[in-house]
């Protein structure tokens, strides 16, 4: 079956069974391996992508469910070669370790900051509670989201990863 949707800003058309998991569609059919499979059952968040701006788990989404929609994956955030502030912040706040959960966190955090540019620490923790991380103890990740919120608000104290103030 032919499925059409927008992926990271570009129209795509794929011929796949309607029940093919979005996760396989992205990773195997379209070669976007940034979205990860950690559990396959919606319990870890490693496959979080945005569909029409909202977080969704690609492991529990069938191709037919994104027909006509806008899908954003981690690859779409830094498409121009420039890191998104959320990505910058994760580097700066040491919120990355093994990195396998990272794309999912990036997308979940992106969704949070789009609907709530001023999250409290508690709100960040709640919003990210569906994304498991086994390395960081979440501290660096939560810090990174708070830092990215500052970046996105154009806070003058914003510091880029190379230590310069833009």
């Amino acid at each position: 079956m032919s499925i059409n949707f927008r992926l990271n800003g570009r129209e795509v058309e794929v011929d796949v069974p309607p029940g093919r998991r979005l996760l396989n569609l992205l990773r195997e059919d379209l070669g976007l391996t940034g979205t990860k499979e950690g559990c396959g059952e919606g319990e870890c968040g490693a496959c979080t992508v945005l569909v029409d701006g909202r977080p969704r788990l690609a492991c529990l989404t069938a191709a037919i469910q994104v027909e006509g929609k806008e899908v954003l994956t981690v690859e779409g955030l830094s498409a121009g070669g420039k890191l998104h502030p959320m990505q910058e912040a994760l580097i700066k706040a040491a919120g990355v370790q093994c990195g396998f959960c990272t794309p999912g966190f990036v997308m979940a955090a992106y969704a949070l900051l789009s609907e709530n540019p001023h999250p409290t620490r508690q709100e960040v923790r709640e919003f990210l509670s569906g994304n498991l991380c086994r390395c960081t103890g979440y501290e660096g990740i939560v810090e990174a989201v708070l830092l990215a919120a500052k970046y996105l608000r154009g806070d003058p104290s914003r510091v880029t990863p190379d230590g310069k103030t833009p």
């Binding site: 499979e37 059952e41 890191l83 700066k92 370790q97 093994c98 396998f100 990272t102 501290e139 990740i141």
Partner: protein
Amino acid sequence: MDEITQAPTRIVGGSASRLDAAAKVTGQARYADDLSFPGMLYVKVIRSDRPHARVTALDLSRVEAHPQVVCVVTPGDIPGENVVPIIYRDMPLLAEGRVRYVGEPLALLAARTPEAAEEAARLARVTYEDLPAVLDPLEAIREGAPQVAVPQAAEAGNIFNHMVIRKGDVGQGFSQADVVVEGEYRVGYQEHAYLEPQGVIAVPEEGGMAIYGTLQCPYYVQNAVAAVLGLPLSKVRVVQTATGGGFGGKEDVPSQLAALAAVVAAKSGRPTKLVYDRAEDIISTSKRHPGVIRYRTGAKRDGTLVAVEVEFYYNAGAYQTLSSAVLWRGLVHAPGPYRIPNVKVDAYSVATNTVPCGAFRGFGSPQVIFAHESQMDELANRLGMDPLELRKKNALREGDETATGQRLTESVGLLAAIERARELSDWENLRREAEEFNRRERFRRRGVGVSTVMYGVGMGAKAPLLDKAGAYVKLEADGSVTVAVGNTEMGQGAITVLGQIAAEALGVRLSDVQLAPVDTSRVPDSGPTVASRTTTVAGAAVLDAASQLRARVEAAAREFFGSQRVEIADGKVWPKDRPRDAKPLSEVARWMWAHNWDLGATGWAQGAPVDWDPKTGQGNAYFVYAYACHIAEVEVDLLTGETHVTRFWAVHDSGKIVNPALARGQVAGGIAQGIGYALMEELRSEDGRIVAPSFTGYHIPTAMDVPGQYVIEFVEAPYSGGPYGAKGLGEVPLMAAHAAVANALSRATGGRLREYPAIPERVLGLVRGER
């Protein structure tokens, strides 16, 4: 090295960003399942469905008939030896005639798609004749228990190993004690729950095999693949892909996966991918050993420890794998970081019909730490002493002798860690606050708990041959630097830390340094990436190589500048008396290249000598120890038994901290794993089958289950044998954290937790005063 150790550092000690961070935040980092090769097949393992049985027939005809199946492998197809060589050689790659645990590999198939591989695996028909199974270690050592262990791999019956410590005379010690506390502690499995499941790809190459995979120990994998293929080591090349967490779970298990994939690749002549889903990963791979630990501690009225007697049993599972090494670390760590004149420890690892257990952060020590830290608190209660004071009183100091008779001659930061933790947490006040809270609240209680631990860095006297490392550092002709080490990055920050050491020693910027991809054909054997040894041992090898290279660059620069003394820093070189003539290192490098200087240097390091007498358990067990003191505040809901870790303080002595931000990340992550171990992580089995092998069934902490903020600090007691004074860190935070949580929880409930995890149900029991 001493000179460098004492000089102020520019890069070592700074919180540089991870070298691999950009690739990871953009999704560009390539993990095992992200790779594919032309013509690649998908492997599926046909596994035993019985805990203990004779396999009377294995009918794979329907599997072979599946149109998408390309290749089927049974033991007869293994070109080399049918074994997964780890410490012993008791574990077959594919079971022949007899299975010893549910999930044991029996045969393999490869199909053109992963879906077909799964479908075909279900067509296998295995006929079993069940044998009596034994699942509990205490039952497995009883007279008449079914024999599980391969006899050649066991000391007696199902006892794989029995190890001892005998120091002083415990009988006499206890007779001097004013107070004796005693307890039995139980722990279950802990699952690594690395976010990336196990996965490898085997790719046939000219006369040999290449393995790509998520793994900690490439040289272990090389050894295993060479054994099953009957190839020389030089024909097996292992390449580490980006690795999504290890925690010990990717120490020995990847050897099994790689060997499985390799035999299929060898037979089919095509690349083969074997990636587990979460369920297969949980069912079939190693975990932390469940254990039963019996402990007795005697002390004088003033709190001075006089005797400790320990007996513990670890459930090793059906095969040895790493259990003897795990047991040994448990043995050495059982007495804790205390001065104890009389010690008797008996440690047993026992074979049962369950999945083999293996390495997991702490490696046999967290189980006994739960026991010794609970004992210290029970003792403090009995003596009416502050538990932190009691620990301080008995803490090992420089010049003291450990329970294994090792004299600690340097780098003992335990007292400093305890003192700093006390200050940071405002200990006395914190305890008072908890009491006030408990008076005020009707259905909630708070408790504050402390733990202290020591950790023997490196492989120790059980495997001293593995505590060595090679490194290769190369100055490129443009002044950039390539560092090749056989240790792996699995999230802990190894490549960044090793890069910092190279940059510091060479006088270049960290951004000039690139770590070579780990490929056994291109990087030296640096030993396994385990035992919190990488910074200390591989770091010393990198430092050795970089120091040699620096000496050469200095010699060249003297010629280049025509100056007696030159300086190198931040990627610039200058004559000492003419700093304004500074040139970029690239110019000197180019000049060296043009004048035929050797731009590469090989470094080597090995741990300081250790020794061990297995009869008495006395000796210099490890070349150095790291220490930590953790304090946790835990809140308990008296109505539901639910718990929450509200605040946490952690102070570590791991010698010089090379990268404080990364070190902090290690500590916070270890605390979270410790919270999980103590409070929620539980993997149930029924009849030898793991039930609910999923993240729905096995709960690890979410962002809501960790304290809102951690207070983390380092007291640095430098170690003369480590690069810039560094010791190991990686495992220590987990080891200390769960015990502080357990003690805090016990205080909050007024009971005494003796079994992990403290799920709400068990906590309500403690509240009710049940034990």
